[in-house]
């Protein structure tokens, strides 16, 4: 974070910390908090997880509403069916996500990390389980240091079991996005998963357990690519979790009810609670650090301390570098949300979204590939006609069965011989062989351009033209 100048933590300090990573990691016993931001985080845990665990159970048109069916190579998402040919939408979606991330980071820092990232969400859930079974941070630390006993083994075992169940359920849900839930349930009933389904359930579940139960903040600190480049999107007007040094210092203990200025102190009573609640184990009073995931736990914690001391809240708060320096109020901060950087990110984001919606709205649920039959070249048939054979691959990307009519144009007297109608089931592909006849004198020797038209019977507006060539013998 070059432009927000984190305090100490030089490059060397960082390198040596990483060298000894995992070996000497100080295990964190994170103290629980409550408060506005904690409520927000829990709200997002609920929303994201209701969606994640719930979506595979949703039905739509008698099928799973959201199914990225890898085996069929089709993605079903509510009313849409996407084929590999639609990869542009996936690419667009990824770009939109990236820009949304830039946009929100520029406005208010690591909102994603603090509230919505799966790493945060599952850590929150796993910590909640841990708290329920092993007690608060003090009791957890005691339990860790205590010699093995019946009670310790029981609590540990229960925790691992509960974590394991959540992890397994998560892995199962994950796989249900790619493999039909119904088949998975069937397999679960008889415990007869396919080897690869089982592998991926355990793989995803195992990593959920490892990341949310064991590694926690280390994932954010050492594995997350976003944490490394987020600084690029920050500027002095970005809202970040800030300790108001001018107001807090000099810190120190004091009796309740005395005016801090009378004892030459700032508002920080140096209780250290902001450090105890921090899931990454840093001290926000040292300034903005790349480890800070912006979870605002320290804001909630410090606000409670301030309430108890009868000081105004907000010693730690969302603020901007400029606001702290120039003593701006909320209004000035809001005014500076609109600035070239956010406007540019915002405009690009809006354009991309518009493009995505437009693309979806105008997407034709029909696709045709024309391949001329190479084995049978131009052939002369009865009645002075030349015949070419084509194979047409028609994809019906809509959700109802449809019949399609073929016609051909481009040369005088050109006709389709025989059956020129096919019926295709919902979201299916079908090949059809068409014989095209042209009077021998209506084209030049060699290739002549012609055009197929495929038209849906039930919806005349749904049609497609596809160019190809018609060969005359030389």
């Amino acid at each position: 974070m070059s432009n927000t100048s984190p305090k100490p933590q030089g490059a060397d300090a960082d390198a040596s910390a990483q060298d000894t990573l995992y070996a000497s990691r100080r295990k964190l016993y994170v103290r629980a908090v409550s408060g506005i931001f904690d409520n927000w985080r829990w709200a997002l845990v609920w929303i994201t997880q209701l969606i994640f665990y719930g979506l595979p159970w949703l039905q739509w048109n008698d099928r799973q509403a959201v199914l990225l069916h890898l085996v069929e190579r089709k993605f079903y998402i509510f009313g849409w069916v996407f084929w590999p040919q639609d990869v542009i939408f996936l690419a667009l979606l990824l770009i939109i996500s990236a820009y949304a991330l830039f946009f929100f980071t520029a406005i208010a820092g690591r909102l994603w990390c603090g509230y919505a990232c799966p790493q945060t969400v599952y850590t929150e859930i796993f910590m909640w389980i841990e708290r329920k079974i092993e007690g608060d941070h003090v009791r957890r630390q005691k339990l860790d240091q205590a010699p093995m006993s019946g009670e310790k083994a029981a609590r540990r075992g229960l925790k691992f079991l509960a974590w394991g169940l959540v992890a397994l359920w998560t892995g199962f849900t994950f796989v249900a996005y790619f493999s039909p839930l119904e088949e998975l349930l069937q397999a679960a009933r008889t415990l007869s998963f396919g080897p690869w389904e089982l592998f991926w359930i355990l793989f995803y579940g195992g990593f959920t357990y490892l990341f949310a139960g064991v590694m926690r903040e280390q994932v954010c600190k050492y594995m997350c690519p976003y944490a490394r480049f987020q600084g690029v999107m920050f500027d002095p007007d970005t809202l970040v979790i800030t300790y108001d040094e001018g107001r807090g210092e000099p810190r120190g203990a004091r009796k309740k009810g005395i005016d801090p200025r009378s004892v030459n102190k700032g508002d920080c009573i140096d209780c250290g609670i902001c450090v105890q609640v921090c899931p990454t184990g840093i001290d926000i009073r040292d300034g903005l650090q790349y480890e800070c995931i912006g979870c605002a736990a320290c804001i909630d914690a410090c606000d409670q301390v301030m309430d108890r001391m009868n000081y105004p809240r907000g010693l730690i708060r969302y603020s901007t570098e400029n606001a702290i320096k120039k003593h701006w109020g909320a209004k000035d901060i809001l005014v500076h949300v609109l600035r070239p950087r956010t406007l540019i990110y915002g405009t690009i984001l809006a354009l991309l979204c518009a493009g995505f919606v437009w693309g979806l709205a105008t997407r034709e649920p029909l696709r045709v590939d024309v391949i001329r039959d190479r084995a049978a070249l131009a052939r002369e048939v009865e009645g002075g006609m030349i015949e070419n054979v084509y194979s047409l691959q028609v994809m019906n990307m809509s959700e109802q069965a449809r019949s399609f009519h073929f016609s051909v144009s481009g040369l005088p007297g050109v006709t389709v011989d025989g059956e020129n109608l096919i019926e295709i089931g919902p979201a299916a592909t079908q090949s059809v062989t068409l014989r095209v006849l042209v009077p021998y004198d209506s084209g030049k020797p060699g290739a002549n351009p012609i055009e197929f038209e495929v038209r849906a019977d039930d919806d005349p507006s749904l049609s497609l033209r596809e160019e190809t060539t018609f060969l005359f013998p030389r």
Partner: protein
């Protein structure tokens, strides 16, 4: 432990990207293995493909780590 993470994690990320791009463009049913059409189920091909990508990327990370050893460490060993 750190070394393991440095080898396995970036390679995992890149393998995931490679897997997505590769199998979007190529249908596993169109692949040939030693001249024979691949007859595993698609799930198996995707999975093996992913693990294969991961392995290759991990090999690359491993060589990076290997070549990155500081002079001090190499001298100490000899």
């Amino acid at each position: 432990m750190l070394k393991w993470i440095q080898v396995l994690w970036p390679s995992f990320l890149i393998a995931a990207v490679a897997e997505a791009v590769f199998f979007t463009v190529i249908d596993p049913q169109e692949l040939y293995l030693f001249g024979e059409p691949v007859d595993y189920s698609r799930i198996a091909t995707y999975s093996i493909g992913f693990l294969g990508f991961w392995l290759v990327c991990a090999a690359s990370s491993l060589s990076t780590i290997f070549l990155q050893r500081p002079a001090k460490e190499i001298n100490r060993r000899t």
